[in-house]
Symmetry: C2
Subunit: 694 residues, 2 copies
């Protein structure tokens, strides 16, 4: 059995070129080779073993993470100097990524460094970045407090300027002002970017970031006046408990004035606030960047879960055996397909919209440099919305994949419980999903309200410029194949979103106070925002040429990297059958949304019940077409067994013997008779409990 490919019969059925699809998934040959190399490097290094994670107590688990982080850093340093190929920042990032263990380094590289880059002055960057790059200091991002997360403006920590000493006094005036959640803070970080209300000369000037040293660089003890700890266990077993999310209280801590991040606002020696000439809007650029990585991470997490559930569904057999033959693979049941294949399609859809967001970030950055802020609000709304859409869908999808594996999905050995537990906070951090959708809705309502005044909506809202057509149009579908026309699909999604937005705007206009209306109708507004965001995934393409001059320039450099799903289908794609598979996936994604959100489409009159039923027929036929390619489509993600971390998802399909082997590793199996038997169970069986001391 060992060494045999139990999924060979599946792989033999494949109708397309898997290697070509791997390149499409990775984004380019370069990207494929890079991630392939790093994945193998991690998988082959026993120091990065992770299969024992759920069996460790918190302290062991954490210590183990410290070991891995140090080992990874060591490897990176070695490869940089001596390796066959010099390691790049991108490769170092991938190495950390394939380690697949949340740790303080994520926040150091992902938040601390970018915050200094984005908000620090040139001098501040020159001073702090080299220290951070060499990890001579380790930083975290301390914004959220016990009492405030979503409402950043409500943070209570104060930074009061003391002109006598030219220092800020950082202070936690209440219990609820304790910093709470920052990753890496609890046990490791030596420094933090602390967000606090700036007070000078008795006046408040809003919330700003400050670089604060937390611990001694000699003995790692918190500096005097600073209280720090870990905030305790989080969802799941290993999961995010490898991270030291922390609590932090300040008792009048003094830092030099030049440790306020002053790129946008400066405090002078006298304590006066001076706006710099750097546009405040810059921060939106950073948010587009961060959220783009979150969308990319969503497609990664989702594709891992889908890979596990798809492979196991081909291994698992249940019912339907005739005359003692093999039973039916559960992947052949239509209910299983209708739950699984839309998730497979979503993984691809999110992957491509993530790539498109990368392009958007480049575009926004180029515009910012040219002092063109016109597309920023739209880009900001769009990334906020996609962050919310993709993380919510991914969290649900991971759990659905777990259920698709039946009872065995509930074992940690399936990898799915931990994947879920470690993933779900993405729905909350970097902006609570509902709060973000409300921001999108606000932007949409503003856009709609300005349509009459002739202001032309840009980028992903451009379709709203065709509001009159979209309010009137009728769906052309007569037979189920009609649903396979990109124009038909796009129009239906555009019409749905437009009509929901316009209906909301109309209802809002009935309120005297628009804010009251917004509050009262907010649940409807969120639904309109979701419809808009789904349209983005369905339609994503580089903006209309007239609106996006920046793109036009960069276009030829991007090598397939800057495109949405629909663009991919509009061009030649190398590799036998690859385009056909992508088309099938695209329409599965789209038609499944039509089915799932049928109420929207019908209530706005965008399609008829008959057309809905044709969409369903088409969907079933697409499932049949995808079915023989399902295993190959998840093979195309190119995940190592190490990275997947799932016995059910093993590439060779050798599930049962390995599940059996895995069981015996549980600490409970260290002894045949369990600890506690003699004290508690034996007296029970022997009716001697009455007098026992328990």
């Amino acid at each position: 059995m060992e060494g045999m490919d139990h999924l060979a019969h599946e792989r033999n059925r494949t109708e397309f070129d898997v290697d070509a699809m791997k390149i499409v998934w990775a984004g380019s040959r370069h990207a494929f080779e890079l991630s392939d190399r790093m994945a193998r490097l991690v998988a082959s290094d026993p120091a990065f073993r992770k299969d024992d994670r759920t069996r460790l107590g918190r302290k062991e688990l954490f210590k183990n993470t410290l070991r891995k982080a140090a080992h990874a850093w060591k490897r990176i340093l070695e490869l940089r100097l001596t390796g066959p190929c010099v390691i790049t920042e991108e490769e170092a990032g991938q190495l950390r990524n394939f380690m697949d263990e949340p740790s303080f380094t994520d926040l150091h590289w992902g938040m601390f460094v970018p915050a200094i880059k984005g908000q620090g002055t040139d001098e501040q960057q020159q001073k702090w970045l080299p220290l951070a790059y060499k990890m001579q200091i380790i930083g975290c991002y301390a914004q959220t407090e016990l009492g405030h997360g979503s409402n950043v403006q409500g943070l209570e920590t104060t930074a009061t300027f003391d002109p006598d000493t030219d220092e800020f006094v950082i202070h936690s005036p209440t219990l609820t002002s304790s910093k709470w959640w920052p990753g890496g803070l609890g046990k490791i970080s030596t420094h933090a970017i602390v967000y606090a209300r700036l007070i000078t000369n008795g006046q408040e000037h809003g919330v700003h970031g400050f670089i604060v040293q937390l611990r001694s660089l000699d003995d790692h003890m918190p500096l005097p006046g600073i209280t720090i700890g870990d905030i305790g266990m989080k969802f799941g077993n290993g999961a995010y408990n490898t991270m030291d999310n922390g609590v932090l209280k300040f008792d009048h801590i003094r830092i030099p004035r030049n440790q306020m991040l002053m790129r946008v606002l400066q405090v002078t020696r006298e304590g006066k606030c001076v706006q710099s000439n750097v546009p405040r809007q810059l921060i939106y650029g950073t948010m587009v960047f961060v959220r783009q990585t979150i969308v990319a991470d969503a497609s990664t997490a989702l594709s891992r879960a889908v890979c596990i559930a798809t492979r196991y569904s081909a291994v698992r057999r249940q019912f339907g055996s005739q005359d003692g033959g093999m039973e039916t693979q559960v992947i052949d049941y239509k209910t299983q397909q209708s739950r699984l294949f839309p998730l497979l399609a979503s993984a691809y859809a999110f992957r491509f919209v993530g790539e498109w967001l990368k392009w958007l970030y480049t575009d926004v950055t180029q515009r910012l440099q040219a002092k063109d802020f016109s597309t920023l609000p739209e880009a900001h709304a769009c990334t906020a919305g996609l962050k919310s859409l993709t993380t919510a869908a991914t969290a649900d999808a991971i759990e659905e994949c777990r259920k698709l594996c039946g009872g065995h999905g509930y074992l940690c050995a399936s990898g799915l419980p931990e994947l879920f537990a470690v993933y779900v906070p993405a729905c909350t951090y970097e902006g609570d999903n509902v709060v973000l959708l409300l921001q999108v809705a606000r932007f949409l309502m503003k856009t709609v309200s300005q349509l009459d005044s002739g202001k032309k909506p840009v980028g992903t809202t451009a379709y709203l410029g065709r509001v009159q057509d979209l309010l009137r149009c009728c769906c052309d579908v007569q037979r189920d194949e009609d649903w396979l026309k990109p124009g038909v699909v796009l129009e239906a999604f555009e019409a749905r979103s437009t009509r929901m937005c316009v209906a909301c705007a109309k209802n809002l206009s009935k309120f005297e106070n628009p804010e009251d209306g917004f509050a009262e109708l907010s649940a409807d507004l969120v639904e309109a925002a979701v419809a808009h965001c789904q349209l983005i995934v369905v339609s994503k393409r580089k903006g209309e040429p007239d609106l996006t001059p920046a793109t036009a320039r960069g276009e030829s450099d991007h090598h397939n990297k800057d495109e949405g799903f629909i663009d991919k289908l509009q061009q030649d794609i190398p590799g036998k059958g690859v385009k056909q598979q992508l088309q099938n996936l695209y329409y599965i994604y789209v038609l499944n949304l039509v089915h799932k959100y049928l109420g929207d489409f019908l209530s706005t009159g965008c399609i008829t019940p008959k057309q809905a039923s044709l969409a369903n027929d088409q969907l079933r036929s697409l499932y049949s077409q995808i079915r023989p390619n399902a295993i190959a489509l998840v093979d195309a993600f190119n995940y190592t067994d190490h990275y997947l971390g799932s016995v059910l998802g093993r590439s060779d399909g050798n599930v049962y013997p390995k599940l059996y082997e895995e069981a015996w590793k549980d600490p409970l199996n260290d002894s045949v008779v369990p600890d506690g038997y003699h004290e508690y169970v034996h007296p029970m069986l022997k009716q001697q409990l009455r007098n026992a001391r328990l």
Copy 2:
């Protein structure tokens, strides 16, 4: 702060009699007092402390569970003999329930004992039950194997009769035939009901249950030829890891012939199979019973999650402060309400449908005794469907409640991660939810196909008898208040379910082979089954008098216990305002379903888009009416802080200081500088990694 009620302002707003509602929730005054007494007994006993559960390693965790189980049993024995009131079976069950820690005793009492009762002959019951009642033996239920769960007929374990010795030989012929999952098996059970293929004289006779001793009653070692172990970590931290789900292999184990459970089928000394005069249908009665308890458990788990999220939503404030005043309680946001209040309503709805199922079980039992099997298939389909519906909704709802708590919901201290992790397998065990819905669909299709032949559908399918009316009828709603008429709502749900069933039947009839059609259309069939099951929750009432003679008799004894939600609204309910609240909850439950499944209602033409929009308006207004009563409505569940196990859900609302306190208990906070710092972090900071040995 200590001792103060931070939710007093909320409780003062209550518009109804909470104590009266507690009785309604509990089912009767007797039930309330019983559960109240047991909950307090457990909460006040430090031996039942559970707040350290997520911080323990597997072995400690498990040993601790053994201690608690022994302590609980000791308490039960003591109370039985010396307590002020003699403890009943019901009370003992409640005590275990409020312990809130899955353990081997659940399977012993919940599966082992009922299996012997249901499938054992009188002699077998006389021999084994007293041993089990005194816990002189501990039993589990070993059905599922590594390779087979849903398809019980596919189990591979064999029980071969050996006429020479008058014994059965129990054997695991393959790796996949290993028993896998049974709770209590891994480390504790001395005995098991083992399901195996019966073979006598070389002939197969299907799968049957056998009582098999697994471990020595002296030293607890597995008997020769038996291999047993724990199957390893499961979802979550504490969660279900207090249970020793196990693996079991037999190498030709011999048991006496009289240890086959022979109530229905007997094997004679010669190895001949003889059907007894006990009807096979009996097993359906047991399934109705077990699934009824699962529906009851769903309302319990859901109400716990809702209680936590509701209280915390009233404590949590975010945004909306004007002039330095208090910020808005997040429970006042309409998005929060539209996510939370339908779950609150579902908790009540599931509670009442659970009570109705209790009645159904009594009814079925009485009919069985009178040899009336006519309602059994319907009762079976109905309970299978409700099991699926309520467990799926509850699992999703717990996670939604966690998200409603923002970042803090991700802490184990919120209680929600563990509640989710321990709850979700209910979607899989006792029948995978999708497999169950397919059974419901099969029953519905059969019922529809028999309509023409004049066979009158019974019980929860009785409405299908009015198929012609329901295919034709139009919804009468003109204004939003019209949605508050029970007749309107019922008709809409009946019409939806009927039309979906009839459409499926019509599509099925296009297939030559009905089984092919069923397979191809199974996703649609599952949706029809869901629509039918939702109708049950919405409509539940004791069957039409002519169909349910058994009820009519028992009616006056049942004291509110045997009624669905809608019946409650049809009668006087003691307590100021109680009925009004129940009405509001009922319509929130119903109208939220209309909104969520709008595609069904519109595509079948049961309601118009305009009526859908009126339903939405009505829903918003109901949210406003429920809002001031929200805290009191969750107080009515009468959960102790111990049982809730959530800092966010504390009854006194004193969340922040307690969260802060809780954090410091994490083992990581045992030392200021964490274990591993010196080996791994210090060298990193000091650039001394290159030569370090990691």
